[in-house]
């Protein structure tokens, strides 16, 4: 149990919470009896005890957290702070959420620039023919973290707005921009060196608008558990890129992708993956919830196949979770259309495929079926064994312990949920 108290120590870099009955590292990793929430008002950990999920007092109270995850190699919990006033920052806990400390800040190097994007606004589009303009890059948001495998201890990747991938090789003491990706020909080439040498293919994401600019963002980092040099990153709006040499070279992996909002639906670029993940036990099987439907690949992202259909329940949405053992099983939380972004018919359901997307089953037991306006963001769905969990923008958290077939609300009136991860 956790003491129902305010933080007992507050000092620079360290916030301590009084915790009684702290879980030990053995149960922490093996049973995944904890759920880590990043919310608009802080970090919340739910503990499963005697079959009940109980939230602890919030950490980082009042401060937005864009993403939180646990490094499975050493148990460090990371929180990506999204403080509107004082800037994005990383905090970490080495004692399972009891105390938190500042990690080094991620910073774009001097000279990092990006090609300014047109805001998707009719007036701005009138300037569509204007000359290329550049902006100096500054970190807006750490959107996601991806942990390398045991073959690369201390290596963590961070996907950010405005579209840079950063890597630490010392457990977060220092971070370095991945220049081959930042300078990729699909982004206009090496803008450190001078003018663009190729056409920029990366568009902005509406998720950046709150930060005052229309820039691309990396929201998914999937590391191949067989080889940490093999990494997929996904960009809104560009698509999936892959490296097989630890980030020295990158190539687009969007063959078979379709988009419904460009003149050429099979274009190499311009795709809007909302989230991309892989099956840890079957890493050549990838899943992608995209703006234009659900896609899967069974050949390591060499080719993609759409496994949803416009107008049918499963199509639009933000998150997707892959089963950790069976590559053909995945879960989504669909929404209505790409315009309204609301529950379908006012009720919420989770859909699961067990045959690689050939068919989907929908499950509603335990979920609200009327007057429901919950939206589940891209990082706010996770699966672990038979357990599935999601959190919504209206502060509800639901858990299933039977592979998504029935659900129980384990938290309501919480802050809007940005990410959910079993830990």
């Amino acid at each position: 149990m956790v003491a129902d108290s305010e933080p007992v120590v507050r000092s620079r870099h360290v916030t301590t919470f009084l915790v009684i009955g702290l879980w030990n590292s053995a149960t922490f990793g093996a049973m995944l009896d904890h759920i880590l929430l990043a919310t608009k008002k802080g970090t919340i950990i739910l503990d499963r005890r005697s079959g009940r999920w109980t939230p602890r007092p919030i950490a980082h109270a009042g401060m937005a957290v864009s993403y939180a995850a646990r490094d499975p190699r050493d148990g460090t919990i990371w929180a990506c702070m999204d403080n509107a006033h004082w800037g994005p920052a990383l905090m970490r806990s080495r004692d399972e959420g009891t105390t938190w400390e500042d990690a080094s800040r991620i910073a774009y190097p001097k000279g990092a620039r990006y090609i300014e994007q047109l805001i998707p606004d009719p007036k701005a589009m009138e300037d569509a023919q204007k000359a290329i303009t550049y902006k100096p890059a500054a970190l807006m948001k750490v959107w996601v973290l991806g942990f390398a495998g045991a073959d690369q201890p201390g290596v963590i990747h961070a996907g950010t707005l405005p579209g840079g991938l950063f890597t630490t090789r010392d457990g977060g003491e220092s971070w370095e921009l991945n220049r081959p990706l930042w300078n990729h020909e699909s982004r206009g080439g090496d803008l450190f060196a001078g003018e663009a040498t190729s056409k920029n293919q990366w568009g902005g994401t509406p998720a950046a608008m709150a930060y005052g600019d229309f820039v691309p963002g990396i929201h998914s980092v999937a590391v191949d558990p067989r080889d940490s040099h093999h990494i997929y990153v996904s960009v809104s709006c560009a698509g999936v890129l892959e490296t097989r040499d630890g980030g020295k070279t990158w190539a687009g992996s969007n063959r078979g992708m379709l988009n419904d909002y460009l003149p050429n639906p099979e274009a190499d670029w311009g795709h809007d993956p909302h989230f991309v993940t892989l099956c840890p036990a079957d890493p050549d099987r990838l899943w992608q919830q995209n703006h234009s439907g659900v896609f899967t690949s069974d050949d390591g992202a060499r080719t993609w196949k759409r496994v949803s259909q416009q107008g049918v329940a499963v199509h639009f949405g933000f998150p997707i979770a892959a089963d950790d053992k069976d590559g053909k099983t995945a879960w989504v939380v669909p929404l209505r259309s790409d315009q309204e972004r609301m529950t379908i018919g006012g009720g919420m359901f989770v859909a699961r495929t067990s045959d690689g997307g050939a068919s989907w089953q929908t499950f509603r037991e335990g979920l609200p079926q009327e007057h429901c306006y919950d939206v589940v963001y891209r990082h706010a769905l996770d699966a672990s064994g038979d357990r599935v969990c999601f959190g919504s923008t209206t502060g509800n958290v639901y858990v299933s312990e039977d592979r998504g077939e029935s659900w129980r609300c384990v938290g309501s009136n919480l802050p809007p949920v940005h990410s959910v991860r079993f830990v």
């Binding site: 620079r12 004082w86 800037g87 920052a89 800040r105 910073a107 774009y108 500054a138 005052g212």
Partner: protein, 90 residues
């Protein structure tokens, strides 16, 4: 020397932060001095390009600074500098 006052919200991150005299002929120099006194402070106020963060306000006397990009506004020895957060959030 200019006298610097802070929003109390910064105490959460820098509990020993105290208002007082800080040397500097420009706002940038004042921030640099504060960074020496409170390592890590500057990153809360400016981004890595040196620009004032979007939701931070910095006043000299009663006027918001003009140069939010490089903080080149002049500061006189008898000036008061205020570092505040803007009204935003939800």
């Amino acid at each position: 020397m200019p006298h610097v006052t802070f929003t109390r919200h910064l105490l959460r991150f820098f509990p020993t932060l105290t208002e007082g005299e800080v040397p500097g002929a420009t706002v940038r120099e004042v921030i640099d001095e504060l960074e020496k006194r409170y390592p890590g402070f500057a990153a809360y106020v400016v981004d890595e390009t040196g620009r004032l963060r979007r939701h931070v306000n910095l006043f000299v006397r009663d006027e918001p600074i003009c140069d939010r990009d490089t903080l080149s506004d002049k500061v006189s020895p008898d000036d008061k500098v205020f570092i505040l957060q803007s009204l935003s959030g939800g």
